[in-house]
């Protein structure tokens, strides 16, 4: 099979397209896709998310999450609050303005994503989503023995 049909190559190429399109849609709100991801997750959370949980869901190292939350904090979109249960833990919660920005940015990002995925029908997008979810393996990933 020719290299251009390699799933890894196609996925990397497609992912790049989507990230670029999304970043372009978010630029007006001063966001990039990773900051937007953090903001979206904390907006969906009832009592805030710990940075560790954010790192887990996003598949990032906790040290990367620090920088992303710093960015959002500096922009006044989220706050770090002490956890009532564990003094080590900080819960990241959106500010009022953070929620507003997320909603507006979300509409733009969604519109641009729909445009980029325009070649696919709704059914095909659902199929793609389901297949990606299984490859992305968001559950607890079994690794080689440490």
């Amino acid at each position: 099979m020719p290299f251009v049909d390699n799933i890894g190559f196609l996925m990397s190429r497609a992912s790049g397209q989507l990230v670029r399109a999304t970043n372009a849609a978010l630029a007006d709100d001063g966001l990039r896709v990773r900051q937007y991801s953090v903001l979206s997750l904390v907006c969906e959370s009832a009592d805030g998310e710990s940075q560790r949980d954010l790192a887990e869901v996003l598949g990032l190292d906790p040290s990367q999450v620090v920088a992303l939350v710093d960015d959002l904090d500096r922009a006044g979109l989220v706050e770090r609050r002490p956890s009532p249960a564990d003094r080590r833990t900080k819960l990241v919660v959106p500010t009022e303005r953070g929620r507003a920005v997320r909603d507006r940015a979300g509409e733009r990002a969604d519109a641009r994503l729909a445009e980029t995925l325009g070649a696919l029908t709704e059914d095909e997008q659902a199929t793609l989503r389901a297949l990606l979810a299984r490859v992305a393996d968001l559950g607890v990933a079994p690794r080689v023995a440490p």
Copy 2:
């Protein structure tokens, strides 16, 4: 729809998994996935590929291809040959050793990819490949007017 079901997010996460797995499989041959991509493409070409064509297929800027070909050249896996048709153009061709390394690395990368995609049946992988190809938009991409 919850953020974790966003196709862009899932694609980025899945792509990262595949790239990491492939890089791990290629490490023994001293390659990374982008260098391996260039090597694969020139091995499939009859008379070599120009750097411009490589950039086009890979979706990279021509200046990035320069560095990748430099790496492969330094490792003795490819050579730059003058094009008989156009003295500006350099055709990148694999060395004998380049072909051998590509074959061995390709087997390892393919095996690791199959392992990473193990959750999907052959049919599902074919479906995924077809959907990704349409999103990746490898044809001539119509852009906004320049």
